[in-house]
């Protein structure tokens, strides 16, 4: 009889319904009745109990039938899209992680702890892939919960009058463009959050490769959390666009908000600490014995000019979007 109780316990462990205790009690009587039929009132042997339980099904199978099948994290409406995006993102993340690891090996000087680095490879892959999986799943969960497309709103009292209006050419979303956006955003998220030191200045000296991180830690700590917000929100927006297949007023406002936020961060980058690590570049100059102060100054100015140009480009695009929207309305 211990086997029956163990079986009920195993089933109960896999049931998440609030009626778990009640289900266990019902299962108990049913199993004992099943056993009675086999033994015809005699004392049951272990073998008879085992046969009866085997016939009833594995605890996992039984529990799965009690658990409701109507709840899901990623529903059938976006599941195929989720799988497509997930595959792309995981492949890109894998390639980027591999590139990061290979670069790290090639540019590390000979005396570095190679075994220690080898041991870190698997955790690096796990961390990068799990993060990518987490981001994609979280985004699709939000799309599933809050993003309703018109096709879902159409229900039993559907009529041809309710068919959605044709989407103008400028409001149509090009899937391939969105997928490329998603890949680039993931690329940025992975590089700047996991491998910022891979953006580096490397050169060979007599002792092998010497590498200096090109980005300033102070600047990264200040700007990356802000960019992460932009990138994650952009991922959400791209996922919604991929599902809706068109730009709506909400997504347009969302994009405008992201553009303004990006402009603010870029303006902060012009005024704030330099993204390029002056210490690393100075150290590199000392190592090579070359005076490149002018080059360094030029690089810093160039970066700030690039930010300013990007600000102008974003502002122009934002202005054009507003103009197009107003023109479309009238």
């Amino acid at each position: 009889m211990d086997l029956i109780e163990r079986y009920i316990y195993a089933v109960g462990q896999k049931i998440w319904s609030k009626n778990r205790k009640d289900i266990e009690n019902e299962l108990r009587t049913i199993l004992y009745d099943n056993l009675d039929e086999v033994t015809k009132g005699e004392e049951a042997t272990d073998q008879q109990i085992k046969d009866m339980l085997k016939k009833f099904g594995s605890p996992g199978e039984v529990a799965s039938r009690y658990n409701t099948t109507e709840k899901h994290l990623i529903g059938p409406n976006v599941y195929d899209l989720y799988m497509l995006v997930l595959k792309i993102v995981l492949i890109v993340t894998f390639i980027l992680t591999t590139l990061g690891i290979v670069t790290s090996f090639v540019t590390t000087s000979q005396d570095a702890n190679v075994i220690g680095k080898l041991l870190l490879i698997i955790p690096q892959y796990i961390a990068a892939l799990a993060t990518a999986l987490g981001y994609v799943t979280a985004i699709f969960y939000l799309v599933e919960r809050f993003g309703t497309s018109e096709e879902i709103k159409i229900d039993s009292d559907w009529s041809p009058d309710k068919l959605p209006k044709l989407v103008s050419e400028q409001d149509r979303v090009k899937r391939i463009g969105i997928i490329i956006n998603i890949i680039l955003i993931i690329f940025a998220l992975v590089i700047f959050n996991f491998y910022p030191n891979q953006i580096s200045i490397s050169y060979t000296s007599g002792d092998g490769w010497v590498r200096f991180s090109a980005l300033s830690e102070v600047a990264l700590k200040q700007y990356i959390p802000l960019w992460n917000i932009v990138w994650v929100l952009s991922l959400i927006m791209n996922a919604i666009l991929l599902r809706m297949g068109k730009w709506s007023l909400h997504t347009k406002i969302f994009k405008a908000f992201l553009s303004i936020f990006s402009i603010i961060i870029l303006a902060m980058m012009i005024k704030g600490p330099d993204l390029l690590s002056i210490e690393s570049l100075t150290a590199a100059m000392l190592q090579t014995g070359q005076d490149m102060t002018d080059v360094l100054q030029m690089l810093l100015t160039l970066f700030k000019t690039i930010y300013a140009v990007v600000i102008v480009l974003i502002a122009v695009e934002l202005g054009m979007d507003v103009y197009k929207y107003v023109k479309q309305k009238h």
Partner: protein, 111 residues
């Protein structure tokens, strides 16, 4: 050949699955204990796995089509199920629908 058999099996399962709710509801006009319901259905030719039947009873109860009550019998607590008024109504509607399906399918098959 094996693939053909598997395909046939899956279609038969699908056909049976479609009639399961109607068959179970039809046998619950009177109070019935899950285990005896299972044997009763089996005796009448519907061999439904127990681990399919009991969760189904729970789901039907959850949708207010069945009512249940615990009864002490032969020193064992047993859960008895019976059609609720909503269940009875549902059974009538499903029976009508079933008659239509049978009539249309018969017509199609006998053409």
């Amino acid at each position: 050949m094996e693939e053909k058999d598997n395909l046939l099996d899956s279609y038969i399962q699908e056909l049976r699955r479609g009639t399961l709710v109607l068959s179970v509801l039809s046998q619950l006009k009177e109070e019935e204990y899950g285990y005896t319901l299972s044997t009763k259905l089996k005796d009448k030719g519907l061999d439904i796995e127990q681990n399919t039947l009991y969760p189904l009873l729970r789901r039907l109860e959850g949708r207010n089509l069945l009512e249940s009550i615990w009864k002490l019998e032969e020193a064992r607590q047993r859960r008895y199920y019976k059609l609720s008024s909503e269940g009875l109504e549902m059974l009538k509607m499903l029976t009508d629908e079933w008659s239509k399906v049978v009539s249309i399918t018969d017509k199609l098959l006998n053409e």
